[in-house]
């Protein structure tokens, strides 16, 4: 059933097709990070005209399937606005928009994980708003967000095959095109799965390294002596975010 020669012959083309998947992931992730920032800022705003639409948009996007959103963006929206961006641009926007709502939740949980007393201490010392954010709040809110954000990077990567539904020739559609020429279905899809598995494992390994590195740096490498006291524990809990597992277990 399995033809090694055929498998080897299509491997280069399949591997190359990950280029599109990677750039869709990277742009989508960047957009999700930025969009999440905007959503969390608007969602925390004192102005209802900012807060309510932001919260509404988050609910709307989270409660509709990504595939439906993509179809809407690719097929319906151009009819309304009269311009039709490419499948790649639409796909990136779709992924970015979708995951920006999850990312805003990561930010929100990270920020709310910083105890209220920290804000109050900052106020008592007369820090202004900007100083409070950059010297007190974010340095404490960011480190626990890193692994969760890394998780979403992988989740977005694994979602890139969905973009084949709006005609983006990424890895899955490349495989499908191969099957329609060779009429061999076993090797192309199996290879796609195996390649995704390998890449995701490598990704999460790298992310763990970054996480450890980041935390070590964050733990204050400036001072040598106190390091011997072991890992400094935050006087706070990890943010309770909607942490979609990349791998079960």
């Amino acid at each position: 059933m399995w033809d090694w020669d055929y498998a080897w012959s299509i491997l280069p083309e399949l591997a190359a097709s990950f280029g599109t998947a990677f750039s869709a992931m990277a742009w989508g992730f960047a957009m999700a990070c930025m969009g999440g920032l905007i959503l969390v800022a608007a969602g925390r705003s004192r102005l209802a005209v900012l807060r309510l639409p932001a919260r509404g948009l988050v609910q709307f996007i989270r409660n509709t399937p990504l595939l439906v959103q993509l179809f809407f963006l690719y097929y319906s929206l151009p009819m309304a606005i009269g311009i039709a961006p490419s499948a790649f641009v639409t796909g990136v926007v779709g992924l970015g928009l979708h995951y920006s709502t999850y990312m805003s939740e990561v930010y929100r949980a990270g920020i709310e994980g910083v105890p209220k007393g920290q804000w109050e201490a900052a106020k008592a010392l007369n820090y202004n708003g900007r100083q409070t954010w950059f010297t007190i709040i974010l340095p404490q809110a960011l480190p626990p967000m890193i692994p969760v954000m890394g998780n979403y990077l992988i989740v977005i990567f694994k979602d890139t095959p969905i973009l084949s539904a709006i005609t983006l020739v990424e890895t899955l559609l490349t495989a499908k095109n191969l099957t329609s020429v060779s009429f061999r279905f076993f090797e192309p899809y199996t290879l796609v799965g195996v390649l995704f598995l390998i890449i995701c494992v490598i990704f999460s390994f790298l992310l763990r390294r970054i996480e450890v590195r980041f935390n070590r740096h964050h733990l204050g490498s400036k001072q040598g002596a106190s390091r011997s006291f072991g890992r400094r524990k935050h006087e706070r809990t990890q943010p309770n975010v909607d942490n979609r597992e990349v791998f079960p277990g």
């Binding site: 106020k123 008592a124 007369n126 708003g129 010297t135 400036k222 001072q223 106190s226 400094r232 935050h234």
Partner: protein, 260 residues
């Protein structure tokens, strides 16, 4: 609303009220504190002591009345000849004169002890890095923690943490400082070292202090005046000797009875 300065007071609460929804927790308080005066605030749990201190630190906004600090209204500012709710800019300017030490320390866990104390002088007072460090070191020496400078808060005992928090507030050189039950979260054997530090500061300082406390001996030792509040009102006030040895109201008598 008259905001004329009275030089003999650093803090003046006038008919201050505070409600949370339907619950009125401060029911019209008048209280003045003279420059350098040490005022102990005592009273049963839930009487509103913390709320009173937090309104001075601008952490809670009063729902009625006015607070003056250093002759200026704290929560109101003049705009076009009228007094309106203070904006962040006004509050920022007013906070230069006010400091607070919290029951649960609220140290910055991501900064070492030195940075906890030196950060605000550098960022807020815009001092040169070296000067901020020198001031912080001097202040840490004053609270007996000169040897803990590059340790992180999680490696300190509760008493040490609170002394860092005191140094952190002191280094900003406020004219009035709120101490909200700063020993309540400490193990009993660590209470003494913190109280000693505060007594020390009280003795040498021209800084006014609002000492919210359940430590009656400490209040008697340090305070120039003791204010007893219950149910959001001031019930009785006077010199420590009067309050502790000759309490007049029934409420105060029964409150003090619990400490005997």
């Amino acid at each position: 609303m008259n905001a004329l300065s009275q030089t003999s007071t650093i803090v003046k609460y006038s008919q201050v009220k505070k409600s949370y929804g339907d619950l009125e927790v401060i029911k019209g308080i008048d209280l003045s504190i003279a420059p350098g005066e040490k005022v102990a605030l005592i009273g049963p749990s839930g009487s509103g002591k913390t709320t009173l201190g937090r309104m001075l630190m601008t952490l809670e906004e009063p729902t009625g009345g006015t607070i003056q600090v250093d002759g200026q209204l704290l929560w109101h500012e003049e705009k076009n000849g009228r007094f309106v709710r203070a904006g962040e800019k006004h509050l920022h300017r007013m906070r230069e004169r006010i400091g607070m030490v919290f029951q649960h320390f609220n140290l910055f866990p991501h900064m070492n002890v030195l940075d906890n104390v030196a950060s605000a002088p550098r960022k807020v007072l815009k001092l040169h890095k070296r000067e901020a460090k020198e001031r912080a070191e001097a202040m840490l020496a004053k609270v007996g923690l000169a040897d803990k400078i590059d340790v992180y808060p999680s490696q300190l005992s509760g008493g040490q943490k609170q002394r860092v928090a005191i140094a952190r507030a002191l280094v900003m050189n406020p004219k009035v400082m709120v101490f909200d039950e700063v020993t309540s979260a400490l193990d009993p054997e660590l209470v003494g070292e913190v109280l000693e530090v505060i007594k020390d500061i009280a003795r040498q300082g021209d800084m006014a202090m609002m000492l919210i406390t359940h430590e009656m001996d400490f209040a008697r030792d340090v305070a120039d005046r003791v204010v007893f509040g219950a149910d959001g009102r001031i019930v009785e006030e006077g010199p420590p000797k009067e309050i502790f040895e000759n309490p007049k109201s029934d409420r105060l008598q029964s409150f003090l009875g619990r400490f005997r």
